[in-house]
């Protein structure tokens, strides 16, 4: 009996595609919502450009430590100073642990009674001393050739013995540690390092070791975002491979796999994070950057290839160690006083006289003489790894007031700016959507109450509300950057809430809302699953604007000193490093970045709004 209906020409077959019977799977594939959305987005050139720019910006932010860093990626070296100090102090640490072994618990407790910083128990203090001794042994081991390990092994064994017997057999522990002290004293005499500065003196020939300070300094959450970015940016590539090989171009399976791909990207990023953490730990580089650079400059740290000796390195070029730096070799807080407010070095006005550290360009030279703007007569020191004094790429975006590389600061600052925008927009959108939908869906006194609340909130100038909130947050409890995000999120939701409420008032009258309730769906399900998706397109645009305004509000707050604190940077706080227009690069570069980001967000929001509207694709 249903046959009679399907045979009817008026209702049934006018939209059926006249395809052949050969491929039923293809024939019955109708493009689903997301197919249409992606197709629609693909047609927009501006959207693609904006998305590419944003992706690049987020990539730079995620990979900032790899791009701008004063630690080398890899260094093969021998640090004679560290070695010498370890040799000299090994005996001290062992003998002080020995002293602790001789003491009773009570005597120790009495001796530290008035020293609150000291270890409270004798066992704890002993462990600390022993740890210090083992650290020194490790330093020695890493710099010595393997055939010199014998005394080290012996000392190590004695230390283990002393530790094991500390509580059970005090005298035996003391005996072991006394022997170890004697060995360490002997070691101090025998194992002095050979110093290339005095090539005639005898000494142990040290061996180069390879370190990866930059990699080790990466934190595991940084790894998460790096992997996430890589997988997301490479989506078009691997998506094609997965669709072709795994899903065999079956559009039905591709459609079903979409969610799994998304989850897969997140899961892989998490896996990468945990693997990294398990392998390398999180942000535990032992390298202290300033002494390291100083050592390299003074020559107390010698570049020696891994496994080769210091003596070989003096004569054989292949034995000289390598050092690999990040593209921009400055720390985000590394300052050079001589280079205060140096213009971008690819311009003629950025040229400097290395002997006096003065800018050569007439405009700046005059400034320096008349205003006394610059420390007089200081020669420029070029630290290891840095470009030459007048190389075009020394400071491609100039420097700030303290001679910090501005390009590096902008890259590190992008992390704050880009994430502040997104996170605050996320918070305010979620709050706004929830409150707005409740007001719009239920109407009546709930609506009235919420709307009056919003009006009260909106009648207070939000910027001052934010400042007030910032003034009362304790930066030690809540870092300013989180406080900004939270405060923007908790105050800025009113606009979104009003938008959503308006949409709900419109949609509430539509029959599908009544129909949803007539099918027995709960209020929550009706609101969030049936009405909300219809109301989302204006919200998306509002959210895109909120990202932009979040970035701007953050910079304004940072400018007033409530936001990001030095030496950390955000684009907004960088703009406000100075208001002197002669230092144009300070305002122009971060300003352009903010402008570009905000524009891109607006373009993306606009395109997404159009594409998400299913009615526009008939």
């Amino acid at each position: 009996m249903t046959q009679s209906h399907s045979a009817n020409p008026g209702t049934a077959s006018h939209t059926l595609a006249p395809t052949s019977e050969a491929a039923p799977a293809e024939r019955f594939y109708s493009k689903d919502y997301w197919d249409l959305v992606f197709e629609q987005l693909g047609r927009r050139k501006l959207f693609k450009v904006a998305l590419a720019i944003l992706t690049a910006l987020y990539g730079v932010a995620a990979f900032a430590p790899l791009l701008v860093n004063d630690k080398p990626y890899m260094v093969e070296s021998v640090d004679t100073t560290a070695y010498t100090s370890a040799v000299r102090t090994l005996r001290v640490t062992i003998s002080s642990s020995n002293r602790l072994a001789k003491q009773t618990d009570e005597a120790y407790a009495a001796s530290v009674a008035d020293k609150p910083a000291a270890e409270p128990t004798r066992g704890g203090a002993f462990a600390v001393e022993l740890g210090a001794a083992r650290l020194r042994l490790a330093t020695l081991r890493s710099a010595l050739p393997p055939d010199k390990y014998a005394p080290l092994d012996e000392i190590e064994a004695l230390l283990d013995q002393g530790e094991a017997k500390l509580t059970a057999d005090g005298p035996a522990a003391v005996e072991a540690l006394t022997t170890a002290t004697a060995l360490a004293r002997q070691l101090g005499k025998d194992y002095a390092a050979w110093d290339p500065a005095q090539p005639d003196t005898a000494g142990v020939d040290l061996v180069g070791q390879r370190e990866h300070p930059l990699w080790e300094s990466l934190k595991s959450w940084e790894i998460f975002f790096m992997t996430l970015w890589l997988l997301t940016a490479a989506w078009p590539l691997w998506n094609r491979v997965v669709n072709g090989l795994v899903l065999r171009r079956d559009r039905e399976r591709i459609r079903r796999a979409r969610r799994w791909k998304l989850l897969g990207v997140l899961a892989l990023s998490l896996v990468a994070t945990f693997v990294w953490r398990a392998q390398l730990g999180s942000g535990r580089s032992g390298l202290d950057v300033a002494p390291h650079k100083e050592g390299l400059a003074k020559g107390t740290i010698h570049l020696v290839a891994e496994g080769r000796t210091l003596r070989e390195a003096q004569t054989d070029p292949t034995a000289v160690g390598r050092i690999e730096w990040a593209p921009v070799r400055y720390g985000y807080a590394e300052s050079t006083v001589v280079e205060k407010f140096r213009p971008p070095t690819w311009r003629a006005e950025g040229e400097i006289d290395p002997a006096t550290g003065r800018l050569v360009h007439p405009k700046w030279a005059l400034d320096a003489e008349t205003i006394g703007d610059r420390a007089v007569g200081q020669p420029m020191v070029i630290r290891p790894g840095e470009p030459e004094a007048n190389a075009w790429n020394r400071h491609i975006a100039g420097t700030d007031e303290l001679g910090r590389d501005f390009f590096g600061r902008m890259i590190w600052g992008s992390r704050v700016s880009l994430s502040v925008g997104i996170v605050s927009a996320l918070i305010l959108t979620v709050i706004g959507v929830i409150i707005g939908s409740i007001a719009g869906f239920f109407g009546g006194w709930i609506d009235t109450l919420i709307m009056r609340m919003i009006e009260i909130l909106q009648s207070i100038p939000s910027f001052f509300l934010i400042l007030l909130a910032m003034a009362f947050t304790n930066p030690e409890v809540l870092p300013p950057i989180f406080a900004i995000v939270l405060v923007i999120g908790c105050i800025g939701w009113t606009g979104v809430a009003r938008l959503v409420r308006g949409e709900f008032l419109r949609l509430r009258e539509q029959e599908f809302v009544v129909a949803a309730r007539a099918l027995g769906f709960s209020n929550a399900r009706t609101i969030f699953r049936h009405v909300l998706p219809n109301a989302l397109s204006p919200v998306l645009v509002a959210a895109a604007f909120a990202v932009a305004s979040g970035i701007l509000i953050e910079s304004a707050i940072s400018f007033l000193g409530f936001g990001v604190q030095q030496p950390e940077a955000s684009w907004g706080s960088l703009v406000n490093e100075t208001r002197n227009t002669s230092y144009w690069w300070i305002q122009v570069f971060p300003g352009v970045l903010i402008f570009v980001t905000v524009t891109c967000y607006n373009l993306v929001g606009d395109a997404v709004r159009d594409a998400l509207d299913p009615k526009m694709k008939v």
Binding site: H14, A518, H530
Partner: protein, 354 residues
Amino acid sequence: MAGDTQQPGAAPRGAVTSAVETEREPLLRLDGLRTHFDTDDGVARAVDGVDYAIYPGETLGVVGESGSGKSVTALSIMRLLPVPPARFAGGRILFRGEDLLAKSDADLRKIRGNDIAMIFQEPMTALNPVFTVGNQLMETVRLHRGYDQARARAHAIDMLTKVGIPAPEKRVDEYPHQLSGGMRQRVMIAIAMSCDPALLIADEPTTALDVTIQAQILDLIRELQEQAGMSVLLITHDLGVVAETAHHVAVMYAGKVVEYASVFDLYERPRHPYTIGLFRSLPELAAPGQRLATIPGVVPSATRFPTGCRFRTRCSIATARCAEAEPPLVALNDDQVGRGHTVACHHLEEASKL
């Protein structure tokens, strides 16, 4: 009159099957239902004492002008009216002997969509524009029946086949805007029928459709009703539709039922002046060259119903008595079917001469 519009296959159902099952319990009984709205103009008594019953497997047609309270009654049964401003001022809605007005929201949600389903007038807006047809079909059975994704999808395709949609495997992934009006109404029916409801409330299901599609949709509802044995509450202002589809008819005017009868009785012997007026104004009954008869005036506003009989302001035979006392529904003994023919009028004698 009614017999003319009946199809041969469907003709005997009212007369024969119901007559032998007089004692059956009604599936749904409205017992003096009053739904009022608190508005700024005062209390709007949109539904003010409605009694009717729907028996298992039967169709009750509810007819009346716009504003007579037909849809509000239907929405009251489902309790879909926003409270406030709506307010249930009295009466009971007995579904399988249980009062729906006394049920909690959670209990009611189990009934909605599962035992009582509803289809709406505007297929254009009754489907959610952002979800595929399949998505909307699947959600109901997943919620009420706990089906998994694959089973729900198979069920959705099955339902689309049942309502006569060609290439359901393809249609199931399409959006409402990709379908024609008739198809959307079929989808609406498919959604409503997904859980095999005992009662289907169809609120002017064909008003927004063109005439050929109307017939198809009514045929479809009737076929599905015969297959599933469900009851249908058909709300319409089209007397032709009622004649073709309903077993019983309730004529509503100004928030009240003025006449309730089997479809035969009503079409053969309409007794209420309002019902008579309605039949007179059918274009196909008017003689050629003659002006079409109309009922003068409009339905009074729900906030200001006249005293006594509410139809008296438009009634040609109204007397002083009509203004004083509200006529009760009185059972007549002329019915063929045995479920009663009830009319609310003081002047039945005069009315019969109209």
